[in-house]
C-alpha cells in the first residue's frame, strides 16, 4: 500500500473510536506510525504520511467536538416518555377530585422541570463538567496540535494562541518528557493542554500518559480553591486538580493514584 492509498482509506477514519479495530483501516494505520521503531531491523517511519495523519486527526477532533456540543432540550426525555405512553393509556372519565389531583401533579411536574432546567444549565460551566470534558479529551488520541519535546516551543505556541502559557509546572511533571500541546476551548475560554511522557512503556500508537490542563481560574465555576490538590478517578484516568496564581490546573495520568502522586 502506498501513501496515497493509505490517505484515501484514512480520510474517513475516526481517531479514538472503534474504527481503530476495523480491519479496513488496520494496514493503513500501521503505515502512519511515527514513533521510532523498537527494533533496528524495522523500517524507519514515513514522516510525510505521519504528519498528514496527525493533521487529519486534529482536523477531525476539532469538528467532532462541535457535534458533541449540540445541546439537548432538558425536557425532551420527559416529553418522549409522556408522549409515547399515550397510545396505550386508557381514557378514564375525570371526576372533580381527579381534576384536582391532576392539576397538583402537573404543578409538581412543572416545578421539577423548571428546577431541572436551571440545574442543568447551571452545571454547564462547573468544575466537575470541566474536569470530565478535559479527561475525555485526554482519552482521545492524536489530539495534539503541536508535537515537540521543547517546552519553550510549546509555550510560544500556546502564547501565540492566547492560551495560558505562564503556568507553573509541579516538580514531578517538570521531570517528565514534554511531547506536545493543544489549545482547547472551555465556555469560549482557552485551555492549554500540555502532554508529557513519564518514560513508562506506552501502548502502540500512544505518545502520552500525562496531561496537564491549565485555564484561568475565573473561567471555571467551583472546584479547588487552594494549592492542595483534589484527587479523583475520572473515566479511565486518575486526576489531581488545584489552583495556583489565578490558574486552575487539572493533571491527568494513565495510572493509579500512587503513579499520579509522583507528578505533583
Amino acid at each position: 500500500m502506498n501513501n496515497d492509498e493509505a490517505k484515501k482509506i484514512l480520510a474517513v477514519y475516526r481517531p479514538g473510536t472503534a474504527d481503530r479495530n476495523d480491519p479496513a483501516f488496520k494496514e493503513a494505520l500501521e503505515q502512519t506510525k511515527s514513533f521510532p521503531p523498537k527494533e533496528r531491523w524495522q523500517a524507519p517511519p514515513d514522516i510525510e504520511l505521519a504528519n498528514w495523519y496527525h493533521e487529519h486527526c486534529a482536523s477531525y477532533l476539532s469538528v467532532q467536538a462541535k457535534f458533541f456540543k449540540i445541546p439537548t432540550p432538558p425536557a425532551l426525555k420527559d416529553r418522549i416518555l409522556a408522549g409515547s405512553k399515550t397510545p396505550t393509556a386508557q381514557i378514564i372519565p375525570l371526576r372533580p377530585a381527579v381534576f384536582l389531583w391532576a392539576a397538583a401533579a402537573l404543578l409538581v411536574l412543572c416545578v421539577s422541570l423548571t428546577a431541572l432546567f436551571w440545574r442543568s444549565h447551571g452545571r454547564e460551566d462547573d468544575f466537575d463538567t470541566y474536569r470530565t470534558r478535559m479527561t475525555r479529551t485526554a482519552l482521545q488520541p492524536y489530539g495534539m496540535e503541536l508535537q515537540s519535546h521543547d517546552l519553550q516551543s510549546i509555550n510560544a505556541y500556546l502564547a501565540g494562541r492566547k492560551a495560558p502559557a505562564d503556568y507553573v509546572l509541579p516538580d514531578g511533571v517538570s521531570r517528565a518528557q514534554p511531547v506536545g500541546c493543544a489549545v482547547l476551548q472551555w465556555q469560549g475560554k482557552p485551555v492549554s493542554m500540555l502532554c508529557f511522557h513519564s518514560g513508562q512503556p506506552l501502548p502502540a500508537g500512544e505518545q502520552t500518559d500525562i496531561w496537564l490542563f491549565v485555564i484561568d481560574q475565573s473561567s471555571v465555576r467551583g472546584g479547588p480553591a487552594a494549592r492542595l490538590p483534589i484527587v479523583a478517578q475520572v473515566k479511565k484516568l486518575m486526576t489531581a486538580a488545584w489552583t495556583q496564581g489565578g490558574k486552575m490546573y487539572v493533571l491527568a495520568a494513565a495510572g493509579d493514584e500512587e503513579f499520579l502522586r509522583k507528578y505533583f
Binding site: 477532533l61 469538528v63 462541535k66 456540543k69 426525555k77 418522549i80
Partner: protein, 174 residues
C-alpha cells in the same frame, strides 16, 4: 423482545438520536418532533424486533426514514463506489474550527449536498460503526464511505469559506 424497558431505551438513546435529528434538520422543534416520532414508533412496533443488539440501529434507521419521508424525497440517492471519489481532502485548521461555535459548524453541514449530510452527521456523532451506518442509511459500506469522502470534502471547503468570510466581516466591523 424481552430486552430493556422503554424508559431505559429512551434514557440511553434520546440524546444521540436528537443530535442526529438536529444535524439533519438544524431546528430544535423539528429535531424534537423527529426524536419523539421515532420513540412513538418504537412504543408501538419495537416489540417486533427480536434481536436486542439491533435496537440502536433500528432507532436511527427509523429516524432517518422519518426524516426522508418528511422531506418527501421520491428518488433514492445514487450509489457511488469509493474509488470514484475525489482525491485529496483539504484539511480544516483546528484553530480555525475552535474559533467557531457549534451552530456555525452545523450551518456548514446544512450547505453540504443533502445526500451526504446524514452520513457526515453519523460520522461525527461517533455513535455508530461503519456497518451500523450502512444499515441505517440502507446502503452498502462502500457507498457510505464514498458519501463521506465527498461530504467531508464539501464540509471542509464550506468551513474554510465560513471562517474567511467571518474574518473579513470582523475586520470590516473593526
Amino acid at each position: 423482545m424481552a430486552g430493556a424497558s422503554f424508559d431505559n431505551i429512551v434514557k440511553q438513546y434520546y440524546e444521540p438520536l436528537y443530535k442526529f435529528a438536529f444535524s439533519l434538520t438544524r431546528t430544535e422543534a423539528d429535531a424534537c418532533d423527529l426524536t419523539q416520532q421515532t420513540f412513538y414508533v418504537w412504543a408501538t412496533k419495537g416489540h417486533q424486533l427480536r434481536d436486542d443488539s439491533k435496537t440502536k440501529t433500528w432507532l436511527f434507521t427509523t429516524l432517518h426514514r422519518s426524516f426522508l419521508q418528511s422531506r418527501r424525497r421520491e428518488t433514492r440517492f445514487p450509489h457511488q463506489p469509493l474509488n470514484e471519489m475525489d482525491d485529496g481532502l483539504p484539511f480544516t485548521d483546528p484553530v480555525m474550527v475552535n474559533e467557531m461555535d457549534w451552530e456555525q459548524v452545523l450551518g456548514a453541514l446544512g450547505r453540504v449536498e443533502e445526500s451526504y449530510q446524514a452520513a457526515v452527521a453519523l460520522f461525527y456523532l461517533e455513535e455508530c460503526s461503519y456497518k451500523e451506518i450502512a444499515e441505517i442509511l440502507e446502503v452498502p459500506i462502500g457507498t457510505v464511505k464514498s458519501r463521506l469522502a465527498r461530504g467531508l470534502g464539501q464540509l471542509k471547503k464550506i468551513l474554510i469559506q465560513t471562517s474567511r468570510s467571518g474574518r473579513i466581516g470582523k475586520a470590516q466591523h473593526e
